[in-house]
C-alpha cells in the first residue's frame, strides 16, 4: 500500500504522520493518536458514533480517508474541554440527563458542536435536524435535544 505523508491540526496541535493511503481518519485518530473517545459503531457512515469536526463541521470519520484531512483542522471529543473544564455542551449533557451508555455521546457532542458553530441559537427543529445522523439506542433523544438547546442559550465561549 502506498504511504502518504499528512499534516493537520488535531485538537489544536500541529501533527505530521505517514500512513498507508487507504486508512480512515477514524483509524488514525484512534490507532495513531490513541484518542479513544471517538467510537466506531458501524463503519459505514450510518450511526454517527465516529463524528468529529473538520474545520468546524461534523464529518463521519469512519468513511473519510485520512488523506482528506491533510491540511485541515480536526477536533475530537477530547478537544472540547478547556482549561480542565467541561465546555457548555458537555455540562448541559450532564445537567439534562442526556447520557446513558455513553457510546453515542462523543459523536453526538461533535454534531452538536458543529451545529452551534454554524448556528449558535438553533431552533428545536434545527437541533433535531442537526443530530438526525447520530443514532442513540438508549435515550429516546429528547434529553439530548434539551441539552443542546440549553447549551445554546448559555452565554460564554465555547
Amino acid at each position: 500500500m502506498k504511504e502518504i505523508e499528512l499534516r493537520f491540526r488535531l485538537n489544536g496541535e500541529e501533527q505530521r504522520l505517514t500512513v498507508p493511503s487507504n486508512v480512515t481518519l477514524l483509524h488514525v485518530i484512534r490507532e495513531h493518536f490513541g484518542l479513544m473517545g471517538t467510537k466506531e459503531g458501524c463503519g459505514e457512515g450510518e450511526c454517527g458514533a465516529c463524528t468529529v469536526l473538520m474545520d468546524g463541521r461534523p464529518v463521519t470519520s469512519c468513511i473519510i480517508l485520512a488523506e482528506e484531512a491533510d491540511r485541515h483542522d480536526i477536533m475530537t471529543v477530547e478537544g472540547l474541554m478547556k482549561d480542565g473544564k467541561l465546555n457548555r455542551l458537555q455540562q448541559a449533557f450532564l445537567d439534562e440527563g442526556a447520557v446513558q451508555c455513553g457510546y453515542c455521546i462523543p459523536g453526538m457532542l461533535m454534531s452538536a458542536q458543529g451545529l452551534l458553530n454554524e448556528n449558535p441559537h438553533p431552533t428545536s427543529q434545527e437541533i433535531r435536524k442537526g443530530i438526525e445522523g447520530n443514532i442513540c439506542r438508549c435515550t429516546g433523544y429528547n434529553r439530548i435535544v434539551n441539552a443542546i438547546h440549553k447549551a445554546s442559550q448559555d452565554e460564554g465561549d465555547s
Binding site: C42, E46, C47, F93, G97, G102, Y103, I105, R137, T139
Partner: protein, 774 residues
C-alpha cells in the same frame, strides 16, 4: 451532621463525566502490548455437516500466529442448556456460525487468512421457520436433547426441535370457555430483530500456562460468564477471571458469550498473549444474538359484561441454533401470558423452538413484549366484539391487591389500574373519537398494559469498604450499562452512611475481587443489589459501633447508631465525614461491610405441571401506556404524536434515571412497532447493516413522551424501589397497534407496521377483527 437524603434525588450519573469527555474505557478502546487480533471464518450454510477443513494456506499467510477449529476444541457451553460449541464441530447450525478462528499480528493479516480457509460441507435441510420446525418429520437441529445438560425448569421434547415446552394451567379452561358469552381469538407475530447496541460485541482473552483464563469484555453478567467458562473449560472458578469494561448498550444482547469463546479458544493456543476481536456490524447481525421470531395465539372468553372467563395462549418462540436464554424467555413469557387480568381458567403452552437460524436470546422485555403485543391486541378485539370501551374492559378485569394471579399467587403492591387510569387521563382518553386532520390524516388513540415478573429466585451481594477518611469503595458484581444502576446503588450507600455522593466510589466489576452477582438482567439490580448494599452499609455501621465501644470504653449496646452517626451514652459522637477526628479507628481490623440478598427463602417452588405457587416471583412490574398517532392514508405512514407512559417504580431512587429508562424504552418500542425487522431470503440476511436495518433516529420517535412515575412502594424493596429497565418497551407496541386499528378499521397481525402493510390493510378493510362464531 451532613445528612443529605440522596433517596429520591436526581443525582447526575456518576459515570457521565467520563462519557462526555471521551475517557470512559470500553472494551474496544483497550489494547495490550504485542496483542494478537482475531478473525473468524463463518459457516456459509444454514445447516450442514463439516466434511473437511483445509488450513494449509491459512498458515502460509504472513503474521498468522494461531488457528483453531471446533475439532481442536470440542467443548460446549450454555447458561441453561449446554449445547453450544466454542466453534462448530461435526455440523453447523446457522449461516454465520463460527467455524475457524485465526489470530494474527494485525487485523489485516487475520482477515486475509480467513479468505484462505478451505472447508468442505455437506448441506443438510435447513429449518427456517418455527412451524416447519415443529412439523412431523422436520429435520432435527439437535439430534438428542438427552445428550446435553439441561436446567431443571426446562422440558425438551425428545426427538423434536422443541427445546422447551412450558405449560401452565389454572382452573378448567374448557369450562371457562363454555361459560363465555363471547369468544374471540387471533394470532400475532413478530419478526426477528436485533439489539443494535451502538457498541458491537468485543472481547480480549489471555490464557496462562497455569490454566488461568483472563477475559476482558463488555458483558452484562460477568459471574454468569465466569461460571459457564469454568464449567466448559473444566477449571475451578478461581482460575477464570472476567474483567468487565464499560458497556456501550446491552438490552439483553450482551448477556451471552459471543466473542469470548472465540478469543479464548485462540488464546489457549498462544499462552500469555492477548487476543482481541471486535465484531463488525455485519457480524453483529449474523452471529451475536437476536430476538427470535415469535407467534402467539390468544383465545379469550368473556361474559357479555366483559368479565373474562377463560384464556388460552399458545406461543412459539424461535430460539435459533442454540438455546442460550430461550427456555428462560419462554418461562417468563409463559408466566405473563394472561396479562394483568383476573382470569379463573387459564391454559398456556409455550414452545421454545430450535431452528437453523440466528440465536434467539434475551431482549429487553424477555418474552413479555411479544406476549403483550398479542394479548393486548386481542383485548381490543374483544372490546370491539362486546361494544365496550377498551379501557373499561381492562379496568373491569385488571388485577388489584388480593387478586389471585395466573400462577396462584395472592398479589400485593399492585398498580395495574392506577397506571391505566393515569395514562387515560394523560392522553384525554374520553375524547378519543378519531379525528381527520385538514391534511386528511387520521388521528386516533390506543392503550395497553402488562405485567412482568423479575427473575426469581436469585441473589446479589455487595461489599462496602470503609476508608479512614470516611469515604467508601463499593464492590458489586452487577453491570452498569447505561441504566445508572451504579449511581442508584451509590445513592443508597451514601444515604445509609450519611455521606456525600463524592465519598462513594463504585469499583469496576472484576470477578477476581468483586462479590457474586447472579445476572444483570430482568430489571432486578436496583432491588436486589440495592437490598444487599443497604445491608452492607448497615454492617459498616455495626462494625463502627463495636470500635466506638472500645474507644469510648462503653457497652456497645449503649451506643446509638443512626445513618452515618454514632452517639455514645456520655454524649460522645462521631459521623462518617468526621471519622478521622473521632479517632475510633486505630490499628484494628479494617471495616469491611458485607451484605447479601437472596430470594430463595421467599420463593415457593412451582408445581411442576400447573406452575402454581404461593410466591413464584419476588415482584411484578406494572405499567400502562396510551398513545396518540396520526396515520396518513395516502402513504400508510404512522407518526406517533404522543406516548403517555405510567410505570410503577416502587420508589424512584433517582427520578431522572427512571425517566431515562422509560423514555429510551418507549423509543425502542416505537422502532419495534414501526420499522425494525431482519429481512431474509432463506438463511441469508438481506439487511445486516445499519443502512438497511433501521433503528429509530430522532425523526422517528414520538413528538412527546410523557412519563408518569407511580411510586407504590414494594415492602421488600430497598426504600420500596423496584426495577424499571425493561418494562417501558412492553406496552408501546400494542398501544400503537390498537390506535392503528381504530384509525384504519383493520388490524395488522405481524410487526412491524410498515407503510406498505398499512396501505394493504386499508385496501382490504373488511371486518375489524376476525372471530369465530359460537
Amino acid at each position: 451532621m451532613s445528612q443529605k437524603n440522596h433517596i429520591g434525588e436526581s443525582v447526575t450519573h456518576i459515570d457521565a463525566w467520563d462519557k462526555v469527555t471521551g475517557s470512559a474505557v470500553y472494551c474496544g478502546d483497550m489494547s495490550f502490548l504485542h496483542q494478537l487480533y482475531g478473525a473468524v471464518y463463518r459457516s456459509p450454510f444454514s445447516h450442514a455437516k463439516i466434511i473437511t477443513i483445509d488450513l494449509a494456506e491459512v498458515w502460509k499467510t504472513p503474521g498468522v500466529k494461531a488457528v483453531v477449529t471446533g475439532e481442536d476444541f470440542p467443548r460446549l457451553y450454555g447458561q441453561y442448556v449446554v449445547d453450544q460449541p466454542f466453534l462448530a464441530f461435526g455440523k453447523v447450525r446457522f449461516k454465520g456460525e463460527p467455524v475457524v478462528a485465526i489470530a494474527a499480528d494485525t487485523p489485516e493479516s487475520a482477515a486475509e487468512a480467513v479468505k484462505k480457509v478451505h472447508a468442505v460441507f455437506e448441506e443438510l435441510p435447513a429449518v427456517l421457520d418455527v412451524y416447519e420446525a415443529v412439523a412431523e418429520g422436520a429435520p432435527l437441529v439437535h439430534d438428542d436433547w438427552s445428550k446435553y445438560s439441561v436446567a431443571d425448569f426446562i422440558r425438551p421434547e425428545p426427538g423434536t426441535n422443541i427445546c422447551d415446552h412450558f405449560q401452565l394451567s389454572k382452573g378448567d379452561m374448557d369450562a371457562g370457555f363454555r361459560e363465555a358469552d363471547v369468544i374471540d381469538e387471533g394470532e400475532f407475530s413478530t419478526p426477528m430483530i436485533q439489539h443494535v447496541t451502538i457498541e458491537t460485541h468485543c472481547a480480549i482473552a489471555q490464557c496462562l500456562n497455569d490454566g488461568t483464563v483472563n477475559v476482558w469484555s463488555p458483558c452484562q453478567s460477568p459471574f454468569a460468564m465466569r461460571d459457564q467458562l469454568a464449567a466448559a473449560l473444566k477449571l475451578p472458578l478461581r482460575k477464570v477471571r472476567v474483567i468487565a469494561s464499560s458497556i456501550g448498550g446491552a438490552f439483553g444482547g450482551k448477556n451471552e458469550m459471543r466473542v469470548e469463546p472465540i478469543v479464548i479458544a485462540l488464546a489457549m493456543k498462544v499462552p500469555g498473549k492477548h487476543v482481541k476481536l471486535v465484531f463488525t456490524r455485519e457480524e453483529e447481525f449474523l452471529s451475536s444474538v437476536v430476538r427470535g421470531e415469535s407467534s402467539v395465539k390468544v383465545k379469550l372468553g368473556a361474559k357479555n359484561d366483559g368479565t373474562l372467563t377463560a384464556v388460552k395462549v399458545e406461543t412459539y418462540l424461535d430460539t435459533g441454533a442454540y438455546a442460550t436464554t430461550g427456555p428462560r424467555v419462554n418461562f417468563i413469557a409463559g408466566f405473563a401470558s394472561s396479562g394483568p387480568y383476573v382470569v379463573p381458567n387459564i391454559k398456556v403452552d409455550g414452545y421454545c423452538v430450535s431452528t437453523t437460524r440466528q440465536i434467539g436470546s434475551s431482549f429487553r422485555g424477555f418474552g413479555v413484549s411479544e406476549i403483550a403485543w398479542a394479548y393486548e391486541s386481542q383485548m381490543d378485539c374483544l372490546a370491539k366484539r362486546l361494544k365496550m370501551d377498551p379501557l373499561d374492559l381492562r379496568m373491569k378485569n385488571a388485577v388489584e391487591d388480593g387478586s389471585i394471579s395466573a400462577t396462584g399467587e395472592r398479589l400485593f403492591s399492585v398498580s395495574a389500574k392506577q397506571c391505566l387510569q393515569a395514562v387515560a387521563d394523560a392522553i384525554d382518553w374520553k375524547n378519543r373519537d378519531p379525528v381527520i386532520t385538514p391534511e386528511g390524516k387520521i388521528r386516533t388513540k390506543g392503550i395497553a398494559t402488562f405485567m412482568k415478573p423479575t427473575g426469581t429466585p436469585s441473589n446479589s451481594s455487595a461489599v462496602v469498604r470503609l476508608n479512614d477518611d470516611g469515604t467508601v469503595n463499593v464492590m458489586i458484581g452487577g453491570m452498569e450499562m447505561g441504566q445508572s444502576m451504579t449511581t442508584v446503588i451509590a445513592q443508597m450507600v451514601a444515604h445509609e452512611l450519611g455521606i456525600s455522593m463524592d465519598s462513594v466510589e463504585m469499583t469496576p466489576v472484576d470477578t477476581e475481587y468483586c462479590p457474586f452477582e447472579k445476572h444483570s438482567s430482568a430489571s432486578r439490580l436496583t432491588f436486589h443489589i440495592g437490598n444487599a448494599a443497604v445491608r452492607a452499609a448497615k454492617d459498616v455501621m455495626e462494625q463502627l459501633r463495636r470500635l466506638a465501644a472500645i474507644a469510648w470504653n462503653v457497652d456497645p449496646r449503649a451506643i446509638k447508631a443512626g445513618r452515618g452517626e454514632l452517639t455514645g451514652p456520655g454524649g460522645q459522637s462521631v459521623t462518617l465525614p468526621e471519622l478521622r477526628k473521632a479517632s475510633i479507628l486505630r490499628d484494628q481490623d479494617p471495616v469491611i461491610g458485607k451484605g447479601a440478598y437472596s430470594t430463595s427463602d421467599i420463593y415457593v417452588p412451582l408445581d411442576p405441571v400447573t406452575r402454581q405457587s404461593a410466591r413464584p416471583m419476588i415482584y411484578w412490574m406494572w405499567g400502562a401506556q396510551a398513545v396518540e398517532i396520526e396515520v396518513d392514508p395516502e402513504t400508510g405512514k404512522i407518526q406517533v404524536l404522543k406516548v403517555a407512559a405510567a410505570h410503577d417504580v416502587g420508589r424512584a431512587i433517582n427520578p431522572v434515571a427512571c425517566y431515562q429508562q422509560i423514555e429510551g424504552a418507549v423509543s425502542m418500542g416505537v422502532g419495534h412497532a414501526l420499522i425494525e425487522e431482519m429481512i431474509f431470503d432463506g438463511g441469508d440476511i438481506l439487511n445486516a447493516n445499519m443502512v438497511d436495518y433501521k433503528v429509530p433516529t430522532i425523526a422517528d420517535i414520538p413528538l412527546e413522551t410523557q412519563v408518569i412515575l407511580i411510586e407504590n412502594g414494594h415492602p421488600e424493596g430497598p426504600y420500596g424501589a423496584k426495577g424499571i429497565g425493561e418494562p417501558g418497551i412492553i406496552p408501546t407496541v400494542p398501544a400503537i397497534g390498537n390506535a392503528l386499528c381504530e384509525a384504519i378499521g383493520e388490524r395488522i397481525h405481524r410487526l412491524p407496521m410498515k407503510p406498505e402493510k398499512v396501505l394493504e390493510a386499508l385496501k382490504k378493510r373488511s371486518e375489524h377483527c376476525h372471530a369465530p362464531t359460537i
